[in-house]
């Protein structure tokens, strides 16, 4: 109850009139290291829960009849408010040696103490209690695979932001009845609003409460739907524990973070995700996708909907040219060779805005007689080791990796980790990343200042070949 996320949850439960939500608070007065902030002050808990829109039942948590009655009353779903049962309890009750005592949290009793406690509690018994099973008629929803999803189609060269393609693809994917979307009060920036307009009954505004945004996605997933939760990529850092715990809980959720990196320009560093790839790669079993154009973004949105575990798409604010024809395939774990020739001397690797910089750098280098291979690393995790290894073999191990992210844990690490894991690695790497604190400026100014624009990439390639 001391975590702010609890109040995000109550706020949303009352906003959405979840009369079928019953929270039970075990108020036992003790934390791990001593008394809790509010102790047995049930009135303080009541005021808070009521202020956040819940109806409150106060009971003696050791009185089974009282528990039963509170649950029965809370189970009356005719109202519009979630219920909170505040159960005053005594920690360790019935085992007098530890009852209401500090310093016994999370510790097993020594065997002799355990034996005395069991005796005091009435001896060993074997009771089997079954709670009510979920009501019939609510099977796990499954997507009807026969439903045709008509992804948006983009023309090559047309300038479209990947965040826009995210929204358009998600709205199209909404033809599947299992798709649900939610957003943290920025749906006009993430373009989740396109889904909201097309499928208002399956869109949930979670306001500026990212922990509950992810928590609600997990809950929706448990009920058999496939949730897509979006906000600015930077703001998912608010929910990292929820994302981590979702992975541990074997949840399958799709996250989309927009406005990544210094590319956003004027809004300044607080709004720039520069840690999100590191954060999301480190989540167990995650997929981390970073499309560079609208066609791949749309295809990957559809792919995410069928991935197990935590999948994350990083999208970009600005509009950049579409690179791929509609219908091109983008398997998770793959990559695209956008420039490739037998005489390639260096490999340029990027994703998102830096891929477009890599392409421009390759043009610069070609004019100087340098042939550069260009890899679109749209799948940062899992990563396409085979294509990377082939590029290493073809270009003498010379790699320029450019990313709109801090140097730690992002695309550079993904590439180098994969190559060193693949066996003996002989590498000459120029790793361009955001190493200084960015300020506010135009996209072009900030990409140049960070040393991740086309000029910086071309210069790094020349240095590797010098």
């Amino acid at each position: 109850m001391a975590e702010g996320s609890i109040w995000e949850a109550f706020d949303k439960a009352s906003h959405y009139k979840l009369a079928n939500l019953i929270a039970i608070v075990d108020v036992n007065r003790l934390g791990q290291r001593g008394p809790t902030d509010l102790g047995w002050d049930l009135e303080a808990y009541r005021r808070r829960a009521e202020a956040f829109g819940a109806r409150v039942f106060e009971i003696d948590g050791h009185d089974v009849a009282a528990i039963d009655q509170a649950l029965a009353e809370a189970g009356d779903l005719s109202g519009e408010r979630p219920s909170v049962i505040l159960a005053r309890t005594i920690k360790g009750r019935g085992a007098s040696e530890v009852e209401d005592r500090e310093d016994w949290h999370g510790k097993p009793l020594p065997p002799e103490m355990a034996e005395r406690a069991i005796t005091e509690l009435g001896g060993e018994r074997h009771l089997l209690v079954r709670g009510p099973a979920p009501a019939d008629g609510q099977p796990r929803l499954r997507a009807d695979r026969a439903i045709e999803v008509k992804l948006p189609v983009y023309d090559r060269g047309q300038k479209v932001a990947t965040r826009k393609a995210y929204g358009e693809a998600l709205a199209a994917l909404g033809a599947r009845p299992d798709i649900v979307a939610m957003d943290g009060e920025v749906s006009n920036s993430t373009f989740a609003n396109l889904f909201a307009q097309a499928h208002p009954g399956r869109f949930f505004e979670m306001y500026i409460a990212e922990q509950q945004l992810v928590a609600a996605a997990v809950g929706v997933g448990v009920r058999g739907y496939r949730p897509f939760a979006s906000t600015f990529a930077a703001f998912f850092t608010r929910a990292y524990d929820f994302i981590r715990m979702a992975a541990i809980s074997r949840a399958s959720i799709c996250l989309a973070g927009s406005h990544a990196g210094v590319e956003i320009g004027a809004d300044g560093p607080s709004q720039m995700a520069l840690e999100d790839l590191a954060m999301m790669r480190a989540v167990h079993g995650s997929a981390v996708l970073y499309p560079s154009d609208a066609t791949s973004a749309a295809a990957l949105v559809e792919a995410m909907a069928d991935l197990d575990g935590i999948s994350y798409m990083r999208t970009t604010r600005g509009a950049y040219p579409v690179l791929y024809e509609a219908g091109e395939s983008f398997p998770v774990g793959g990559s695209k060779l956008l420039r490739s020739a037998d005489d390639d001397q260096v490999t340029l690797i990027g994703a998102g805005v830096t891929l477009h910089a890599c392409l421009a750098a390759a043009d610069q280098l070609r004019d100087e007689g340098i042939s550069a291979r260009v890899i679109d690393l749209y799948s940062v995790k899992p990563v396409d080791t085979a294509t990377l290894s082939a590029a290493v073999a073809a270009t003498g191990g010379r790699l320029v990796i450019a990313e709109d992210h801090h140097p730690e844990g992002g695309i550079g690490s993904a590439v180098v980790d994969a190559l060193t894991a693949a066996g003996r690695a002989e590498l000459s790497v120029a790793h361009l990343a955001v190493r200084e604190m960015p300020g506010s400026g135009t996209t072009e100014e900030l990409l140049a200042e960070s040393g991740i624009d086309a000029d910086a990439i071309a210069a790094a390639a020349r240095r590797l070949l010098a």
Copy 2:
């Protein structure tokens, strides 16, 4: 006001009776994409703020006299409650084209609209308003460098948990009057309780509210103190946005996360930090320290107290042998060669529990006639590139890196990133990390299951040499 962290803050402000805290809420009804959850329902805000212990003033936020009066009343510090001024405002007031309208959040007005707005607001003016300066007598506190800090001393071979050394060193460091500590209700696990016992006036219990734990550390730092904030390493994921924003705000704070990795054993994956190194390395300008013994832990606690920016120490639950004599120096950015010979064939790199496994593996290998170099990588960021490069040169590029962390963004990435950044790298890397979801078990079982124990390290070394 929709973020749960706000309620963590009000809870702590009322708990600590911060009558000198005045929060002003600009209730303008509109978010970025439309109306807020509570709109202009000032009564709802009032109920919430009062339930969390604040006294509340409701005003018309456009009425300067009302603002002045509310601030004067809130400035009466004789009470024990923080104040909240709920200021009802109209977004864009006075510029009729945007007043109370959606879709103008965070957007500059087009030049002609801006001109009309300025005219409507009374034309261009040049007003200079100075708020009151901070009261005299509260200069930024500076540590008295003449104060001698007597760090705890440990005997080599003695088994001491690094978390215990953290608490003992912090308590000793408390001789400096600028040192302040706070903890998230687990100080009997992190051993911050040793500081609390020694310096109760400079210890703050933040209960289970990690966002406010870090926020309070930043605030304490702004006032010239040096804060140390501790909790389980896993739980800092709750505060990632606060840590990220602390770096952007150029704050200097020291964080200590205990109970890292599968080493904790029985408590299961929700309590195991397996993403923290990735998360903390990706923070701008951070230092990431991971001592393996009590001597180095104590020395690094003292070093952290004088580092600029965000510093993080990862500590271990279990007790392991002290490796270093008291007085040994552990510069941030350094490492230690614990085994080294001219005929070294392979380098073993670890930190924390895996360093002890590396030492045991080196013993196994020595018995087989294989000479293994062992590096204690206590400074994960910045990392000791010179020692790593020398090891690569000495051992044919053969490295076994073992870490109690997911494979992404941790020690393995730190090593390989540094070596590839240093120039042409020819590497044969075996990277041992926690790749499957751990369960609950003994430390030994889980280290073996994850493939990061001495046997796994020795086997990896043999494979590299095969």
